[in-house]
Symmetry: C2
Subunit: 249 residues, 2 copies
Amino acid sequence: MKVVGILGGMGPAAGADFVRLFVEACARRMRAQGEPVRDQGFPEHWLAQVPVPDRSGAIGSATPGAHQPLEPMLQALGRLAALGSRAVAMACNTAHAWHGALQERFPQIELLHVAREVSAHLASQDVREAALMATDGTYRAGFYERAMAESGLACHLPSEVERTLLMRGIYDGVKAGNLQLAEDCFSRVALSLAERHGDVALVMGCTEIPLGLQGAPAVSGLRLVDPARVLAEALANRAYEGTSRQRSA
Amino acid sequence: MKVVGILGGMGPAAGADFVRLFVEACARRMRAQGEPVRDQGFPEHWLAQVPVPDRSGAIGSATPGAHQPLEPMLQALGRLAALGSRAVAMACNTAHAWHGALQERFPQIELLHVAREVSAHLASQDVREAALMATDGTYRAGFYERAMAESGLACHLPSEVERTLLMRGIYDGVKAGNLQLAEDCFSRVALSLAERHGDVALVMGCTEIPLGLQGAPAVSGLRLVDPARVLAEALANRAYEGTSRQRSA
């Protein structure tokens, strides 16, 4: 088994939830292989929850300075590498706007890419169309659209009004601890995307969205995809397999 | 804010849940102080989930060797210290049998003690009697009974048959992923303790017990106390206050 790392703190509730998903993915793997699930069967893993400036805000700003998230992310990633991590997942979708810069600085580790993992996962299930619920920063960075296009998926985007609702649910809802507001905002957007595009996969492309939307009765019939779950599964695969170090440029 | 650490992996699901409880405790603290809850308001914290041999099994064995948990715990604690942690909580009750040896090796950090935190918490709420649900190892080590006595609390213990039920719920239930079995075992013990001792505080003194018992309808009227919640709150206090470094001998 290989040591793996999780770069969190963006936000911290999502980081904690990512560890839960990773532990579940490891347990599923043990069960699938007919092994007993016991404490000592889990790979060593480290979670770094460090204060990182707001990612969406920084994507709109070209000036260097303390509001930029790259430096604290680099430092935390370097420490995860020093702890022996061979693969690292970031528990924040928007942070993947800096994926290239981070991966380049630490070529000795594999930094998983959430949008590539999700796109590959959807393509493997013969999904052809998806709608993306995400932060302003993620839309501005465009990495989900690129990864989906590379996997042959059409990617539908919400309107400006819907994007404002999503940001409200993320910041005034989940991050501020108002889950009812979050559920209202997210479910309105999910329902109108489903109405507009039909039975497409609805990618909850911000780690805060599942925390506010999962289990909401209003969206029970929709095809919600949780990228954190897909990414946690991918990280568990790296920890157990070790050999599948495919890194795309 | 001070950097704090969490020593987990014992089991990993409990470690993940401890981070969730810690993040919630930090958010509560921000709200209580009238501050907005935002990602950057959380203290830096690290979770180490390392494979550690079974604690209960080792307490019964005096021989040194690879089945002893002290060495991997020391190594993980040393790395949490190297990451800058000023206070560390262990997300495993039984592991506190080694608290003294761990604290002695790393005097520069405060290693919180779950039983002392829980006893102080109960005493502050004018609780006088508690019943302890825990692992064989925790009963054998006796640190909960000692901490409660120091805080002036009476500590009731389950019978041999009830202890066997608890171990079954912990190992064949939560650790193996069979939550229904866990709920059955734990609720039977909780109900008979309540029948025997009346309205005492029922301390769920193994991190796996709340994972199987919380929300169970059978025990909805009982006074369940989750040490992980108390410990997470104490760790959040250390992270924010920094000055309250009281270490008992």
